[in-house]
Amino acid sequence: MKILIVDDSKAMRMIVRRSLTQAGFSNVEAIEACNGAEALDVVEQQSPDLVLSDWNMPEMKGIDLLKALRSKGRKVPLGFITSESSPEIRDQAVESGASFVIVKPFTPAAIELALRPLMV
């Protein structure tokens, strides 16, 4: 399974990668992008099976990435991993078609809980 991790923070991309391993997803190929615009290109070129995206990023926010993917007909599941924990962010994410929202700080258990249903 190929997972695209989108975050403008290199440290956070590293933590998400590590958490995937700690959550037991050892057969995952993790690829990265540092903003929504770059992620759009990576999705086109590498067709990941899942996108894990931050919300607040320069160039293109995570929610705009999700909308852009859907407008292009790309149905790849996308979940947010974000420090934005307010209900309106969660509502906006779900209404736009996000599979889940994980709030930073998170644990590998939270990653497993959110991703496991998508792995079947």
């Binding site: 440290a11 607040n56 974000t82 420090s83 924990s85 709030v103 930073k104």
Partner: protein
């Protein structure tokens, strides 16, 4: 102030201890910003809230080491700045969530403490932890938004 010190401490502990495994111990507030750097984010809603995280170079490097699971000697200056900014981002994002109002969170930035002015200080909250035997301080300041200030200045001029 819309959050209290206990809430701020809990958010900081959740970010640093639960997620990164850092040991934090609350200590008396440290107001000495000499030789410290600051990472900050702003929350723009009904009010403008500035969230600042202060630490010295040693502590910032060690926090980055914990985030990357790497000896900080192997990390670049850019990696270390990125890690420290992400701490401010996570703390700020959770503070924003605790406000329960629609607001925007800015991208984090980092600089010297003197880069930050004490303009229009209305209300503030300050807490300090000891981490790797060095102070880690978090300051939350609430300020009026620019349009509120303009209205206040106009009202003052009229009176």
């Amino acid at each position: 102030m819309r959050i209290d010190e206990q809430c701020l401490q809990q958010i900081t502990m959740d970010v640093c201890t639960s997620m990164l495994g850092l040991e934090l111990k609350p200590v008396p507030v440290d107001r000495n910003t000499e030789q410290q750097m600051v990472a900050s984010v702003e929350i723009h809603g009904e009010r403008r809230t500035v969230v600042e995280v202060f630490a010295n170079d040693f502590l910032i490097a060690n926090i980055a080491g914990a985030m990357y699971c790497s000896d900080h000697g192997n990390l670049s200056e850019s990696d270390i700045r990125d890690a420290f900014c992400e701490i401010a981002n996570m703390i700020g994002g959770n503070i924003k969530g605790s406000f329960g109002e629609e607001a925007d969170l800015t991208l984090p930035k980092m600089g010297q403490p003197q880069d930050w002015s004490d303009e229009l200080l209305d209300d503030s909250l300050h807490t300090t932890f000891e981490c790797f035997d060095h102070p880690l301080s978090i300051v939350v300041r609430e300020m009026a938004m620019q349009h509120q200030l303009s209205a206040a200045v106009a009202a003052q001029a009229i009176s």
